[in-house]
Structures are given as C-alpha cells and as structure tokens.
C-alpha cells in the first residue's frame, strides 16, 4: 500500500506541483521503489492519488524506459552501447557482461539478483565503458572490474 507506507513522501511530491497530474512520474518512482516495478496494483494506486484513469498512468509507464513493467532483479545494471561508447569498446564489453552473468541483455539472473540492460546513452561518453548500477555511475570499466563488481553484488 503506497498510501500507507509512503504517505509523507506522497505529500511531499504532491506539494511540488500545482496539478496532481504532474506528480505521476515521481509517484511511479516511489511505487517502483516500493514494489520493485510498476505493477498493475501500483498503477491503480498512482492513478487514484492523481485522479487519473489507470490507463493514462499505464501509458506513461509504457512510454518511459526507466519504468519497469515487469519484475526486475534486486540490482539493475545498465551498460550503454551507443555510438560514442561503442567507439571505446562497449560492444565487446556488453558481450563480456552477458558471458559473465550467463544471461542476455534484457534478462535477469536465475537467482533474481541482477537484471542486465544495454541502454542508449547515459551522458558519460568520455568514461566508457560505463555502467549505471541501481542508478550509480561506474566509469572506465574493464572486464576485470566488472567481474569484481558482479561478484560483490551476487555475494
């Protein structure tokens, strides 16, 4: 129950905007923190808070890549393989990540600990290969430093 568990945060979000509708995205972020993804229940709750139809909230969830429509792992690793990063070896690096994790981009490890995405640009092209791990930047990665990071997350 978002309203019960995050009441203070919800009030803070609503106070930031002159309309309730503007709170949709920050509330979906709260819901995602709470449930791990934008579940149908979360979508209904956010819709009720913002006086919107759940379908409208669902369209927002579907449009933006950072709202997950399905369960993700405890940790989410995003690695950019767009052009500037690829010029610094991101394609080979992503292939290494897939081998290390034993999954393909877009999948979650069987233990549910890591979801791995290849993504389009995280505005850190000068420090590629670059990953965001649960939103935190990790720069100038090598296969070795990636393996180390993954071993830590899977402990």
């Amino acid at each position: 129950m978002l309203r019960k568990n995050r009441a203070a945060d919800i009030e803070k979000v609503l106070a930031k905007y002159p309309t309730k509708r503007s709170a949709v995205m920050p509330l979906l972020n709260l819901a995602q923190e709470e449930y791990g993804f934008c579940s149908p229940e979360a979508i209904r709750e956010v819709a009720a808070i913002c006086d919107l139809d759940p379908t409208e909230v669902k369209s927002v969830v579907g449009f933006y890549t950072m709202f997950y429509e399905e369960k993700v792992g405890t940790n989410v690793i995003d690695v950019c393989d767009d052009l500037p990063c690829a010029l610094r070896g991101a394609d080979g690096f992503v292939a290494h990540c897939e081998r290390k994790l034993g999954i393909k981009a877009g999948e979650t490890t069987p233990d549910g600990k890591i979801t791995f995405h290849s993504v389009m640009c995280v505005a850190a092209c000068n420090r590629a290969p670059v990953a965001q791990v649960n939103g935190a930047y990790h720069y100038d990665l090598t296969p070795e430093s990636f393996d180390q990071m993954v071993d830590e997350l899977q402990k």
Binding site: M25, T65, M66, L83, K104, M120
Partner: protein, 442 residues
C-alpha cells in the same frame, strides 16, 4: 580539461569543492543574485542578458535574452523550466555542471526567473541523473537554508521556489514542448507550435525554457556586465561554450572555449589527438543528430556561422571523433538504431521510417546487402525529411544523409567487398534483436 585560463563554467576544475555553498560564495557565488534582487529591476537583468548576445546552449542557439523578452508582462503565473534532459549521444556537459557546479546552475535559473517576474522554476533532469541530481538537490536545500531561495528574499518581497523534476528515460523530452508534456505528467510527445512556450508553456502559462549551460552563464553577465561577457567569443557567437569531446581521442572530456576562436582541429589537438594513432576520419559535432564532418573540413572555426558554412551545425557541441578504422555503415547503423529506439511514435514517417531504415542497415551488416539497398536508404530518408512534427525526425535522417554524402564509398565497399556478416557484426545484431531495453511505445 583546459582551454580557458580560468573557467567560467567548469569552475570545479579551478576551485576544489565549488559544489559546496560556502566555497561557491567565497568565489563570487550568488553575488550576481544578491546584486539583482537588491539593486536591479527584472527588466535590467533581461536587458543585460540581451546585450550579452548569449545564445541558447542546448543546440538551437536561439538568443536567450530575446526569448525572455517574449514573455508577456501581465499574465501570471509565469514559469522557468531548465532543460537538463541531456540525452544526445556524445553530450555530457550538463552532467558535469549539475554534479560539480550546481549552485551556478541554480543562480542562473534564479536570475532568469527574476528577469521575467516568475516565482517558480523547475529543473528537469533526465531520469538517469539521479546521482548528479542529488548534488543539485543538496545545493538547493543549502540555498534555501541560507535565505537565497524562498519567500521575501533579502527583505524585498520577491519570492522564488526552484524544484527538481526527473524524467524517466526518453530522448524526445529534450525537445522543449515534449519536456513540458512530461513535466505535466504525460507521455513526452511534442506540441504543435505556435503557440510557443513563451505565451503558452507549462500549464498553458508563459514559460522560458533554457538549457542548463545557457543559464549557468547568466551570473557572470549580471555580475560583470554584458560588455565584459562579450570579450569572449565573436560578434555573433558571444561567450564561452562547453564542448563534450568523445570517441577516438586520448583525453575525452568537457572543454570550455570561447566561441569562434579555435578550429575543430585545435579542439582535437587539445583532446590529445587520436587515441589509436590512426588518422581521424570524421567528427559528429553535435552527436548523432548532426551532419558528419570529414577531416578535410577540420579547419572550420567553432562558432555557429562557421559550422553552418561547412554544411554542419554547432548544436550542442558534442564532438564524437572517429578514426579511419570506423566503417561509416556501422556508425550510421548505430545512430539509426538510436533514433528507432527514441522515436516517440507520434509521426508515422519518423516511427516507421527509422524502423525500416534500421532493417536495411541490419541486412547490410549481416552481409546480405546489395547496392539497391543503398538507394533504398536514400529513398526512406526522403520520406522522413520535412515530414515530421518535431526536429527529431529530421535528426534521424542526418546520420543517413551525411554518411551517404561524404562516405558513400564506405557503403559500396561494404557491399562489394563483402564486409558484412562477421562474427562481431552478427553478435551485435543478435543482441539488438533479442533484448535491447526497448518499450512498446517507442
């Protein structure tokens, strides 16, 4: 990163911990803000920015002061919205400003609000900026705690709130009207213009939208005057500009330079030259959306007019250098893949055109391309150009149009010399078809 003896924007390179309020204030921080609120009228702030010649740093280069002057005086409330969506591949300048020099972003935002008589500003950061955003949010909290933001500022009766709003992953939200839609809680699809945001912006009220970097220049203009600011740059391209340099260079990063003083080649040299030792073949001067520039044109000066003179743009100044190992067919495919992913879906030519163009590039990369496919790319391109609602459709065609214009031989060689279908290309194609983090709406 060098370029300027003393940086106006990348001040974190000169002053350690300038992200902290006390350090910022000990180095002229908020002096312009105090000067404006206590001794200037809004119109005077606006006039100074107009006189400075400051142009928008997000890409379009529209004169900032002129944009502010379009705000009607008698309509309330009015808003300032700061564009920190920074999603153009190759661009990472606002990232550094927000993370390392957040108070200057806040001060510039505040001055803009004061100039147009607004009491509420939103800084829109792309969703991926939660980490640098924490620095900005901390800086905002410190500014409030020290009476620099809030109500009845410095006893003048003027009040200002600045709030941070996060996107959630959508390139299109860098387009100003799509950004407003997103801030209003909708999917980020662009609005029809006119009316323009100056009269019908956020919540249908008068709104100035400026890029993070644009506003970060404003404190200097107010503190030292328009004439002082104009000593940097040229008559038509005044001031300093951040250049995000990436790709095959030894020292990638952000460089701050006066506009119009240096050439592309000099920028490349400042970044240490080619990282591989191989000759640099070309550069994209404003990320994936810009016309590619062959090395033969690297003598062009870095200002709006000179870049237009060589058939390209200054744009957001994200210079992606590529050495001669880069096959332009591969590079163009990377870019079209990006636009296929990021097309917001509103216009059929952009949505379907990028989808089909990528299919053709995939076919060529997989080794099954024919020369007829090259003509087909040009044909698909023609169906997108000039037929879309917002500039993103146009941007998507740049990668195709200009790699074909300058590097058509790469396409012909790729097909005739059967360069496609290598294990590397196959792996890359397989990865993209099975699981790139795409969503249904894109």
């Amino acid at each position: 990163m060098t370029g300027m003896e003393k940086h106006l924007l990348l001040r974190d390179l000169d002053v350690p911990n300038i992200r902290e309020l006390d350090v910022y204030m000990a180095n002229d921080g908020y002096a312009a803000w105090k000067k404006a609120v206590t001794s200037m009228k809004g119109e005077e702030v606006l006039a100074a920015v107009k006189d400075s010649g400051l142009r928008g740093r997000g890409g379009a280069g529209f004169p900032a002061g002129l944009k502010w002057s379009f705000i009607p005086k008698d309509v309330f409330p009015k808003y300032v919205v700061v564009n920190g969506d920074e999603s153009e591949p190759g661009t990472f300048k606002d990232h550094q400003l927000v993370r390392n020099n957040p108070h200057q972003v806040i001060e510039g935002t505040a001055l803009c609000a004061y100039a147009i008589g607004s009491n509420l500003a939103y800084i829109y950061l792309r969703g991926e900026f939660s980490e640098p955003g924490k620095e900005l949010e901390k800086a905002l909290a410190d500014a409030y705690a020290n009476g620099l933001l809030g109500s009845n500022l410095m006893g003048t009766g003027y009040s200002l709130d600045i709030r941070v709003h996060y996107g959630a992953g959508a390139y299109i939200c860098g387009e100003e009207s799509a950004l407003l839609e997103s801030l209003e809680g909708r999917i980020g699809q662009p609005r029809l213009k006119p009316p323009f945001p100056a009269t019908n912006g956020l919540y249908n009220k008068p709104t100035v939208i400026n890029n993070v970097e644009t506003l970060a220049n404003v404190p200097w203009i107010i503190l030292n005057g328009a004439a002082w600011y104009r000593q940097f740059g040229t008559e038509k391209s005044s001031g300093v500009k951040l250049f995000s340099v990436s790709g095959h260079v030894k020292n990638p990063g952000n460089y701050e330079l006066p506009l119009g003083k240096h050439s592309i080649q000099e920028l490349l040299d400042m970044a240490g030259g080619s990282s591989s030792g191989r000759p640099i073949k070309a550069v994209l001067p404003a990320g994936s959306s810009s016309p590619i520039i062959p090395a033969a044109n690297f003598g062009a000066k870095l200002d709006y007019e000179s870049m237009a003179g060589i058939g390209s743009v200054l744009g957001s100044c994200s210079f992606i250098f590529m050495d001669d190992s880069v096959d332009m067919v591969w590079a163009a495919r990377k870019m079209i893949r990006f636009f296929k992913h990021e097309s917001c879906g509103k216009c059929t030519p952009c949505r379907e055109g990028t989808y089909w163009a990528l299919k053709i590039y995939d076919k060529i990369l997989s080794g099954e391309g024919t020369l007829a496919d090259v003509d087909m790319i040009a044909e698909v391109n023609k169906q997108i150009i000039g037929k879309c609602f917002c500039p993103v459709g146009e941007f998507a065609t740049s990668s195709m149009t200009f790699t074909l214009k300058h590097f058509k031989q790469d396409y012909i060689d790729f097909i005739e010399k059967k360069k496609g279908g290598t294990p590397e290309y196959r792996a890359e194609l397989a990865r993209d078809t099975h699981g790139h983090h795409a969503q249904a709406a894109h």
